[in-house]
């Protein structure tokens, strides 16, 4: 590795000690204006940049926060990341992000790498595998190393760290009730996120709101057939779709069966605003406000890093029903 010119080299060039250079560049009052001037000029000339690694190693502070998300293809995480960046950009911290692709192994590696010198704190949404395996020991490690952890959206309920969550249960419960209030009797649930904590919470909200529950589950690839089979044999007048793939499928299957939307079948789903607005008919969604979640999460971590508070917060961000054409 070649790095930019070092203090040592500048020191030789100027015939001044390393410590003087260091102090001058850090604008210490101990150094005279004239020497500061000389040193700055030479540093400028050679485009001196302090070596981040050395500074971090010495100070024990990296001024960097690590963000770990399961996927980047998912609009929700993209939004959250956007919110995080917005807040961090106004601070003197940097961000580095790692994507786990839902893998526990990758997540563990990321947490370990991050914890071991790279970052001062961690923001994370758990990978699917992690939630399935209920494996949280890698976060214990981070905590032991005094790296504050903030989890958002996909969290371990009992893990001792700050959390920013969505009221998934209540939101879906309410949505189903609204469907019922407008006369829907046969409301079914469609999901490809049954393994995620958020998927479970949402499904529970649904289950508690209906008298007879029908939960259709699958992968993004199979859910199409599952739903098609069911709808061609049973009457359905309302669909709650828990994720973007399920929502898209709900729409396409219903259209394929020539059911009118929302007259015969009403649909409430999850999708990015852009997607929802450009579908035909436009999709009524449960908007999670990823940007706000990101901002809150980042603010909490920043606060913790600055004042080192010990109390754990557990914030909730409201989800709102955005009415469009499907309900």
């Amino acid at each position: 590795m070649s790095t930019s010119i070092t203090l040592k080299e500048l020191s030789k060039l100027l015939g001044v000690s390393i410590s003087t250079i260091s102090k001058a560049l850090n604008d210490s009052h101990e150094i005279s204006e004239s020497t500061k001037q000389r040193i700055r000029e030479m540093a400028e000339l050679h485009n001196y940049q302090p070596n981040k690694l050395a500074v971090s190693l010495k100070s024990g502070k990296t001024r960097t926060i690590g963000v770990i998300i399961p996927s980047i293809q998912n609009y929700f995480f993209a939004q959250v990341l956007f919110g995080i960046e917005k807040v961090i950009a106004d601070s003197d911290y940097n961000i580095i992000v790692s994507i786990t692709h839902e893998s526990l192994e990758k997540e563990t590696k990321a947490v370990t790498t991050f914890s071991n010198g790279l970052v001062d704190g961690i923001i994370v949404a758990l990978a699917e595998e992690t939630q399935l395996a209920r494996e949280s020991s890698h976060f214990d490690t981070a905590l032991n190393l005094k790296k504050p952890v903030v989890m958002f959206d996909r969290v371990f309920k009992d893990f001792p760290c700050d959390k920013v969550q969505v009221n998934d249960y209540q939101v879906v419960f309410d949505a189903v009730q609204q469907l019922q209030a407008r006369g829907r009797k046969h409301i079914i649930l469609v999901s490809t996120i049954q393994n995620l904590s958020v998927g479970k919470s949402r499904a529970k909200g649904y289950a508690d709101a209906v008298s007879k529950e029908v939960q259709l589950e699958g992968t993004p690839e199979t859910i199409d057939k599952v739903l098609g089979d069911y709808m061609s044999k049973h009457s359905v007048d309302g669909i709650i779709a828990l994720d973007e793939d399920a929502s898209l499928t709900a729409l396409s299957v219903t259209k394929k069966l020539k059911k009118s939307i929302p007259e015969e079948v009403a649909i409430i789903g999850y999708a990015s605003e852009k997607m929802a607005m450009n579908l035909s008919p436009t999709l009524t969604t449960l908007n999670q406000h990823g940007g706000i979640i990101g901002e809150k999460t980042a603010k909490i971590l920043l606060e913790k890093l600055k004042i080192g508070a010990k109390t754990l917060t557990n914030e909730a961000v409201e989800t709102t029903l955005v009415s469009r054409e499907t309900f």
Copy 2:
């Protein structure tokens, strides 16, 4: 900062020198099996993890590559990142990513931060501001610090680094010709990326293929009105839309004007597969194969890092026309 137990502490615990510990943990042949054993056990017990910062500082290698992209909301970059990750995951390198939000300042900061000790090499797609300002000096800095740079998609044509590009000009040129071959006479162009190099190349491909060019430009917010105004006053039977926003607008405006698609107006656009497939009618797109671009880019950098080749490559990845309902 608190890090995990250090060699020094292990050394005290075991009554062995630091260097012995280091060697043992690195499985050096200099150390006897028995001591290795003892040391490993103790390290295990205390969950020793080498401090990344210290290792990097010492070795001059970070085993990390930095990825700098303009946006994460853009499906194309998400795909590319996916491809990069796929390749890097199979190596012993790590990835850190920084998002510039199209800002030159952020890009400069990212390149500088990355170059100064954090990474061994950089993958980048230029920010819009960077391309507008034609500012490349921050990459000179990176190169001076011996950090190989690979640019993809949005590149500086003349900058001396490896590049992975798309044959933007040719693809749009061909697409227009296909439209013409099927009798379209009034083909217009819609774009919100006129400031980007790729936007310019694509527009040139269009311009060179038609006899009378009509280029409609705007922002994602204004393009709707621009196109609506034009189409209500002029006859149009084919639209080339250069980005997702333009494509969505092309579709919605055409539908709003009650023109049949593709009979009266054919549309070829750019959009994610998921978006294109779920639109009504489904959108015929120019697919850039972001995943493949990402893989190629990552492989080139890895190669450079490993064997330190000096020749510069300039690879092209094919874009393909995916026929759907709009043409």
